[in-house]
């Protein structure tokens, strides 16, 4: 694949933030999810989820508690193993850059995980390698400082030299206003700061895809804004993001597509502006109404 393949969807972000291979493929499918099913015991949690994540796009997953949002998100990085369906991932940046085949998929070929068959460890790692995740409970490593949290993946897994990883981590921490906290332990930070470190830890992996699972749900209301502001900035820069959220205002401002999940199916999908103004499905309308008017 060459830079001329770019389709260039959406506004151009600041050019130097994204990796050139990602920028060049803007607008092309990164992940294609087809017919995902998942059961826990006799609880049929996902009942045929289809989803396409394009590079540079922001996808918001909304829906009532228990509708399967987290399970969908975790399927995208192999933390959850669906029982059926497929996830196809475009060739990774590493593959494109080196122009050599990865063990899991020969050069140029997308990676396909067919969950009705056995998924190998290599496939799971190859899928996970493309993304990074921000959790609802930040899940920072409590025994490591902020800086150590951020460089753990780059140094231990990606074999980035420690000095370079430290320098890059410091720069990222500066961006979210936490440079002076780099030697603090997670418990010394506020919830909003912890979550921003969680975002930096994800960014430091230089992922092609950022996954967020209700990143502001566990925060005190006055701390929500600082986290959403960082996420909005990332979206504006052109990061590819899939976000589970209850923040409708955020979804409207940032998301290119919203999926409303209920009972393990995508009940409705589309442009947030349109969906929030005139939902096509009754269930969507009721859900949005409840979210906007919780007292009624």
């Amino acid at each position: 694949m060459s830079p001329t393949d770019a389709t260039g969807a959406g506004p151009e972000g600041p050019g130097d933030v994204l990796e050139p291979e990602d920028r060049a493929r803007r607008g092309t499918p990164l992940l294609t999810v087809r017919g995902l099913h998942k059961t826990f015991g006799d609880n049929h949690v996902l009942r045929g989820i289809d989803l396409e994540v394009r590079r540079g796009s922001v996808t918001a997953l909304i829906g009532p508690s228990g509708s399967g949002k987290t399970t969908v998100l975790r399927s995208l990085n192999g933390l959850a193993m669906p029982d059926a369906g497929t996830i196809t991932a475009a060739p990774s940046r590493r593959q494109v850059r080196r122009g050599v085949p990865d063990a899991e998929s020969p050069a140029g070929e997308p990676l396909t995980l067919d969950f009705s068959r056995k998924i190998t460890k290599q496939q799971r790692f190859a899928l996970r390698d493309r993304s990074a995740m921000v959790f609802q409970q930040h899940n920072l490593f409590p025994h490591r400082t902020v800086l150590q949290n951020v460089i753990e993946g780059p140094v231990q897994v990606q074999r980035v030299p420690r000095a370079e990883a430290t320098w890059r981590a410091t720069e990222l921490l500066e961006r979210v206003g936490l440079a002076e906290k780099r030697d603090a332990y997670p418990h010394e930070l506020s919830g909003g700061q912890q979550q921003r470190v969680g975002i930096v830890r994800a960014l430091a992996l230089r992922p092609e895809l950022l996954l967020f699972d209700e990143p502001t749900s566990a925060l005190d209301p006055e701390l929500v804004g600082e986290v959403l502001a960082v996420m909005k900035e990332l979206a504006d820069e052109g990061w590819t993001m899939v976000v589970v959220t209850h923040e409708l205002q955020f979804a409207r401002a940032v998301a290119d597509e919203v999926l409303f999940l209920d009972g393990g199916v995508v009940v409705e999908r589309g442009n947030p502006e349109r969906m929030f103004r005139e939902p096509r499905r009754e269930r969507t309308r009721q859900f949005l109404h409840r979210l906007l008017h919780p007292m009624e």
């Binding site: 990085n77 933390l79 790692f125 996970r128 390698d129 993304s131 990074a132 995740m133 959790f135 409970q137 899940n139 920072l140 490593f141 409590p142 025994h143 490591r144 753990e152 993946g153 231990q156 897994v157 990606q158 332990y185 997670p186 418990h187 830890r201 994800a202 992996l205």
Partner: protein, 220 residues
């Protein structure tokens, strides 16, 4: 009370502690911890056979007296042609014993680390082994320090059983001196008890200090 004898016996008994009890405890505990980690991982394994082996091991160690374990290794194994000297016999028996008790502590500590920590490790690209080593075990270590310290302090005292298989440690030193002074046995054994008490009290203080140090990244 023969205070002169007590004073003369103090250094031999103490040196029995320093050259016998303490090295025996340290070596056995270190090996025991390695066994414990291994057995804990067996017990946590999704493989039922491996898990069963771990469970059986813990059950046998905890369900039999330490003195009997010691005698089996030193006096029993020679029947199979396996003759082990007193010191290595004691180390083998104490290590296996600590392994059984500490395995349960280590297992509980690993289970006490939230699942989210494993998942965070996986999402930064680490596999199971690396996540265990770099993320989970350090946190489990903190949780297991108080109970493992108790195991350690118990071991200090339990090593006195090695006197029964001819290991010259602190208590055996006291016994040897007592053998020549039958009317001062009470004094000499109280003296040995005092020295054990000093060891254990010092260790308990060390335990508190260690816990404080490990607590530095935890909110209070």
């Amino acid at each position: 009370m023969d205070w002169e004898l007590a004073r003369n016996a103090f250094w031999p008994i103490l040196s029995g502690g320093l050259t016998g009890t303490i090295p025996l405890t340290l070596v056995s505990f270190a090996i025991g911890l390695v066994i414990a980690l291994f057995v804990a991982l067996l017990r946590l394994s999704p493989n039922v056979i491996l898990a069963w082996i771990g469970t059986a091991y813990v059950s046998v160690i905890r369900g039999t007296p330490l003195l009997v374990q010691l005698f089996i290794v030193f006096y029993g194994l020679p029947n199979l042609g396996v003759v082990i000297d007193p010191w290595p016999s004691a180390i083998v028996a104490f290590s296996l014993n600590v392994g059984g008790y500490a395995a349960e502590i280590v297992r509980a500590a690993i289970l006490s680390v939230p699942r989210g920590q494993w998942e965070a490790g996986y999402t930064v690209g680490m596999g199971t082994a690396r996540t265990l080593r770099r993320i989970v075990l350090p946190q489990a270590a903190r949780v297991s320090v108080p109970p493992l310290s108790n195991t350690f302090i118990s071991l200090v005292k339990d090593t006195s059983l090695a006197s029964t298989i001819l290991v010259t440690e602190e208590f055996r030193k006291a016994q040897e001196i007592a053998a020549g002074n039958p009317d001062q046995i009470l004094l000499l054994y109280l003296e040995a008890a005092l020295i054990y008490w000093i060891f254990c009290t010092a260790l308990a203080a060390g335990q508190s200090a260690l816990e404080k140090r490990l607590d530095r990244y935890v909110a209070h």
